[in-house]
Amino acid sequence: TQLLEQSPQFLSIQEGENLTVYCNSSSVFSSLQWYRQEPGEGPVLLVTVVTGGEVKKLKRLTFQFGDARKDSSLHITAAQPGDTGLYLCAGPNPAQGGSEKLVFGKGTKLTVNP
């Protein structure tokens, strides 16, 4: 059973379109992180959200943490080919209080076509 469910699993869009990807759980997380991973590379941290209802913006990327801290979303405005990659959400294992052990979702594989 996946603690973090990401949807959609695959997304292929045209340059300039907007998109939203989701990360959901039945468990409460103390924080959630979003990473982007390109083929042959390790994940790169984009943002950490900590407070329920928090919204963070990183250029064209907007991250939101759900009020109940069970879900998060990533919205990309005017997607560009450089946004192509695997988007992963992750958080400290809620079953282990104060855990350093990150649990990851399976990711959303985004392809932005020129």
Binding site: Q33, G40, G42, P43, L45, A90, E100, V103, K106
Partner: protein, 112 residues
């Protein structure tokens, strides 16, 4: 400022053999975590080292072991390799968990 460095980048081993993967953390980081990422999956936590001791461990068998050295670098050892151990092995370093983790580019291990 070098980030997390992993070696080797690629490795092919035969079933039953043993392998050692290496990781140098980002400068200023003292904690190293190892993850296994199978194709099409998110990374799975193997274990974490801090102050040269294993601090936490995921659901991996004892064939997976590790070590951290006084300079904070780390090794991951896998004994009696199985075909299912084929994956990308990622090392992540951190100093303060709230600041997130820095991942290396990984070692692609193929077991044949």
């Amino acid at each position: 400022d070098a980030g997390v460095t992993q070696s080797p980048t690629h490795l092919i081993k035969t079933r039953g053999q043993q392998v050692t993967l290496r990781c140098s953390p980002k400068s200023g980081h003292d904690t190293v975590s190892w993850y296994q990422q199978a194709l099409g999956q998110g990374p799975q936590f193997i274990f974490q080292y801090y102050e040269e001791e294993e601090r936490q461990r995921g659901n991996f068998p004892d064939r997976f072991s590790g070590h951290q050295f006084p300079n904070y670098s780390s090794e991951l050892n896998v004994n009696a390799l199985l075909l299912g151990d084929s994956a990308l092995y990622l090392c992540a370093s951190s100093f303060n968990r709230a600041q997130g983790y820095t991942f290396g580019s990984g070692t692609r291990l193929t077991v044949v």
